[in-house]
């Protein structure tokens, strides 16, 4: 299984449609402070079903929609899509290629799609339940998590192991 493309529109600072392709190997994302690198990480987490405001760094879900800038007005919805190749049948679907999409409107309504079929958030969670891709898995490693373990915080270290089990 591998991801081939991430499509971001209206999510956080990505007012314009942005497409990132991924292949096998190391992909580096670089740029100045505040330019949007961690926002790309947030977009990937969000389309996979992440719900926690603390993880997405937003107090309200609608804060995830592009809120406007000096020259651009705020947008009405945010949409992120992820293309996954199911080449080893890890996902229990008959599809070879899976596209999951998530959309959030200003009024708070959400839409989810699996290969353009409307589904519920639960269906997206269930799809990834037994893979390492569910939102509580460790496919994102950041410096803050590194510090939690370093700080000799026995509870957060134990929690790390309990989550994995």
């Amino acid at each position: 299984m591998y991801i081939s493309e991430l499509d971001i529109f209206g999510f956080k600072s990505f007012a314009n449609r942005t497409r990132l392709k991924f292949s096998q190997g190391l992909t580096c994302v670089v740029g100045p402070n505040g330019c949007g690198k961690t926002n790309v990480v947030d977009a990937l987490r969000w389309v996979m079903g992440e719900q926690k405001g603390s993880v997405l760094r937003s107090d309200r879900m609608t804060d995830l929609i592009f809120g406007g800038s000096k020259y651009k007005k705020p947008l009405n919805y945010a949409e992120v899509s992820l293309n996954i190749h199911n080449n080893r049948q890890v996902l229990s679907l008959a599809y070879e290629n899976v596209v999951i999409s998530r959309r959030l409107y200003r009024d708070g309504t959400s839409e989810y799609f699996l290969n353009q079929t409307p589904v519920r958030l639960k269906d997206i969670h269930d799809l990834f339940l037994d893979t390492g891709m569910s939102s509580n898995a460790y496919s994102v490693i950041e410096l803050k998590m590194v510090e939690d373990i370093l700080n000799e915080n026995r509870e957060s270290r134990k929690y790390l192991f309990e989550e994995a089990a």
């Binding site: 991801i3 007012a15 990480v41 410096l143 370093l150 000799e152 790390l160």
Partner: protein
């Protein structure tokens, strides 16, 4: 639940022993459950030996040694459940040049089965990338992906020419 926890713990422990040795070639690392015979109540202790001479508690390690140990641990947890991608957000910040090299070569070790997306400010890390996405905010408040470099085996895939080192 107890059985499941112990099973996963042993998996993480075995991953940690291997991963730690990759990050610290002259050293060895281990995890133990201590303080209580019931695994669910015990604490997890991290044993880190960056060089052959002595076992250190996490407290005695330097900033960079701690970070690399914690990255090894988080990666060990990540390896329990297969996920096609692993995102690392600026975890290389506390590492010196030699440890960045080791960090990258450990990732290379796993690129057969894992796609890595590395957000970084580190020049060495950037140099090792197979694919490079540059994010900027040329228009204030709006993120844009501007420079994209694709290379594979010294060949620039995007411009279809060999890359001069």
């Amino acid at each position: 639940a107890r059985k499941q926890f112990t099973q996963v713990f042993e998996q993480i422990r075995s991953n940690f022993q291997k991963t730690y040795a990759l990050f610290f070639p002259e050293g060895s690392g281990d995890l133990k459950l201590i303080g209580n015979s019931d695994p669910l109540e015990a604490d997890v202790e991290i044993y880190a030996r960056p060089k052959t001479k002595e076992l250190k508690t996490m407290k005695a390690l330097s900033g960079g040694e701690k970070a690399l140990t914690a990255i090894a641990l988080l990666f060990s947890v990540y390896l329990v459940k297969p996920s096609p991608y692993c995102i690392l957000d600026e975890v290389d910040a506390p590492l010196d040049d030699r440890n960045v090299d080791r960090f990258i070569s450990v990732l290379r070790h796993f690129t057969e089965t894992t796609q890595f997306i590395i957000v970084t400010h580190n020049k060495l890390t950037m140099k090792s990338a197979d694919y490079l996405y540059g994010v900027t905010m040329q228009e204030e408040g709006v993120s844009k992906i501007v420079s994209v470099q694709f290379k594979k085996n010294g060949y620039d895939l995007l411009h279809k020419v060999p890359i001069s080192s």
